[in-house]
């Protein structure tokens, strides 16, 4: 069975790189497990809680739109 590929993209890697922060550091600051943040970073998450979004935006000083993107059909 083909797995559904989401067209929502997560730009956490870019944000972390820009702020010279590691995923482990962010995980400690937002109090989310490294495993769950890794799932988010690699685009394998099916959903994101507002509380997670809020914590990430607070620690990275960004807007939700900076973290998430939408890949339009080619």
């Amino acid at each position: 069975m083909a797995e559904d590929v989401s067209r929502i993209t997560v730009k956490l890697d870019d944000l972390l790189h820009a702020r010279r922060m590691t995923l482990t550091e962010l995980a400690e600051r937002v109090e989310i497990t490294l495993a769950n943040l890794s799932i988010l970073k690699t685009g394998k998450a099916k959903a994101i809680r507002f509380s997670t979004l809020e914590a990430i935006c607070r620690e990275l000083g960004c807007q939700p739109g900076d973290l998430l993107g939408f890949r339009a059909d080619d």
Binding site: I32, N36, T52
Partner: protein, 177 residues
Amino acid sequence: MPRPFRDPLLAGTRLLLVVSGVIFLVGGVAALGALIPVWAFGGRVIAWLAAHADAPPVGRDALGAVSALLGGIIAGDALTIQFLRNLVAIIDTVGQGSPFISANAKRLREMGWLVLAMQAMLVAALFLTPWFRQALGSRHFFIPFSLAGLITALLLFILARVFEQGTRLAEDVEGTV
């Protein structure tokens, strides 16, 4: 993930169910083994029944009645053992921290059908009670019957639906961060 069987209720219940399963297995095997001497020494069995009958004479189909009773015990034990196996498997998934899986919904549905089958056997035996009384020469032969089995089956079918819903919810939560 929680470690299995830290919960004394789960561990105790599992042990009780496994021991019960072994007892039912021994009972079923004993009933199966008893069929051989019943037919091998039919004359002596009939003589014993005649000596102990409270409403003689013993019918010509006494051996058939005894065999039917033993067959009922074997079938009932087999159904009960399968029921207990499913319940132990469900308890194992609870201990492993993931009870809301489609396999458990399937197990509960199967358990419902097993209980219904047992109930159907009791109804059949209930209708055969006059024949058993006549064949065994026993006025006091009776089949204990209640509707508790039917209610239990309905409860299990509803629980199966609950677990189906729970499985869908668990799948939703699984990918949420």
